[in-house]
Amino acid sequence: MDMKVSKWFGITSVMALSTIMIAGCGGGSGSDDSADGATTIEFMHWGGDETYEGDYEERIKQFEKENSDIKVKTITVADDYDTKLQTMIAGKEAPDVAQVAENGTGFATKGAFIDLSDRIKDAGIDMDETWGAAIDLYKNEDEIFGLPDRGGSSILYYNKDMFDDAGLNYPATDWTMDDYYKAAEAMTNDKEGEDKRWGSTAGDYNLVWGNFLESNGGGIMDQDGKVIFDSPENLKTLTEYNDAFKKWSVDFETSEDAVNRFQAGVVGMNMTGFWDIKANSEVDGLNFGISTMPIGTKPTSWSTGSALTISSQSSDKEQEAAWKFIQYMTDEDAQQILGKGLNDCPANLKVLSSDEFLNQKVGDQDLDLSSIATAQERVVIDGLLAGPWYSEANDEARDKVKEMLLGHITPEDTVHTVQENLEKIVDKY
């Protein structure tokens, strides 16, 4: 009796199992060569559909037109990009071309991408001229694993009307931190409610304080992966930054409502990436300008770009097609398309400083776009961004800086604690 039961159990399990197996394996994705000889490559990026339409769609169409034997299948990820990429790589279904930013080194140290150095050399690309220091973010030991595609670095947005009301000169590319702090003070009032004004939005965003540290000769980690947080320069920078935050920046309790106060016209300055230009230009009544980040002892910018990589899991044919694709995307024609309409900032410095890009009109604004090129040339890659520790180290550093700004710990404690904790974290990798 038992044998017959288990026989039936066995038969039904096998039937169900095989059905699932066939269904699962049959629909398997991954690039295939289709019958007519065209190679299909998969390209994955983040930012959702809006980013696809603004930054990639046209360039991909153009590429496919010029390369009829290659088809590009795009995977647009709206959220949790890293988790998705990690899972795809682990499941041996990695996309042939993947967009990366600071998260790239983590994957690169685990062999996810191929080394592009030889191909770059053979193609005769002058890396310094084309991308400057931005490419440092995509280097792992002696290998280069990504070509910078979307560029941009931290820039300073300022409200022209608020500057006029305070009788201040507009920021220029030689503006110092002293100028910045003075302006923040001048534009902050101590009224309440609708009449309240702040000088700056500078808070715990590492693009801002990280760049301030770098610009004063300090930084979070150096190029060799050593933690350099506890230094006299950093302490001085953070103490100043902390005092300024408490007096002239939008406090955390107010910003909890996630309202964009710069667009609302009640904050004088906002430091962030390139991406706000278009959005800001569409706000009625916002009269703004852009400039470079305030300078400490040396001019620096914080990188906000991303690059394109080629998967080490792809076949030779796919890698060839992928190389053609990323070379096209990062070359001047495609980069001009990217920069058109200022959807995003090209990483290619030649395009960035070309008349075609710089003479663009942004809505009705009369923006001087030359500071974008200047900012890009000043990019410095902090060691924090250039290692597999980026995620964990960044979380820790940002948490402690926020605690400092909230008034729960002193700047001294911050530099000591972060130094200690970051060293422990880097050890783990």
């Binding site: 009796m1 039904t12 399990s13 988790t83 685990k110 964990e392």
Partner: protein, 313 residues
Amino acid sequence: MRNKNPEQKNGVIAAKNQSLHQRTKSDRRWFFFFISPWLVGFVILTVGPMIFSLFMSFTDWDMLTKMNFIGLDNYKNLFHDEIFILALKNTFKYTLISVPVNLVISLAMAYLLSFKLKGMRFFRTLYYLPAIVPAVASSILFKNILAKNGLLNKGLSFLGITGPAWLLNKKAVIYGFVFLAVWGVGGTMVLLLSSINSIGDEMYEAADLEGASRFKMFTSITVPQISPVIFFNLITGIIGSLQTFTQVYMITDGGPDNASQMIVPYLYKNAFSYYRMGYASAMAWILFFIVMILSVLVLKSSSAWVFYEEEMK
């Protein structure tokens, strides 16, 4: 032939038994046939990954490179991981507060709603509605409600209380999550309500005749009668609270400075942001044992206070 011989008698009995046996056999066949999709799914998608994660917890796997066996190192390192210890504390604190508070409030509300008054149905629906809002939606909503200038503090200001910045204050943040849990009390409440409503009137009438007060009736009749449902809600509440993820991930991501970090969000971070899948698996198994031990404890204690009517008969 009136008396069948033993062989024939046995034959008849054997025939009867066989048809019964065959019926049972064919029932069994259909049983397994119908549950096989679920069973296969369970084995492949639940049991299989569980065994794999147990194996992973003894390795240093990062999902991308080769797995290396490292024995109990992950488990040892967990006890030196300050953030893990903090996450454990936070998770326990949250569970120990939100589960009893949830039970007491839902019991009180269920009791009040059990009175047969006009308009009760409306209130029942109203209180149940938050429970059907998806966790992600309610988390985003509560991000605003728990803000320093949000709804909760505005409401408290009517009582003359100045609320803290729930999401920025290390001491207050767990209570913010407790408040979110209490908002969803409707689910437990509805179960208790239907249980209260199914208690027969005879017992109350008998107690009334003997002059028992409302309170005495509540504690001596209502609570024991519904104790199985309370027990069920207690266990599922503990298990659910210990596994909190969505709310923490969406509202504070563990902040401020890990003051609201809990076990599951922390293990998720380790697995997918810090490339430590093996370490995260060890965390998951520790959580599994904690939940199991607590469930067994509650189960064992249940014989003291859970009253099953069938047992008396």
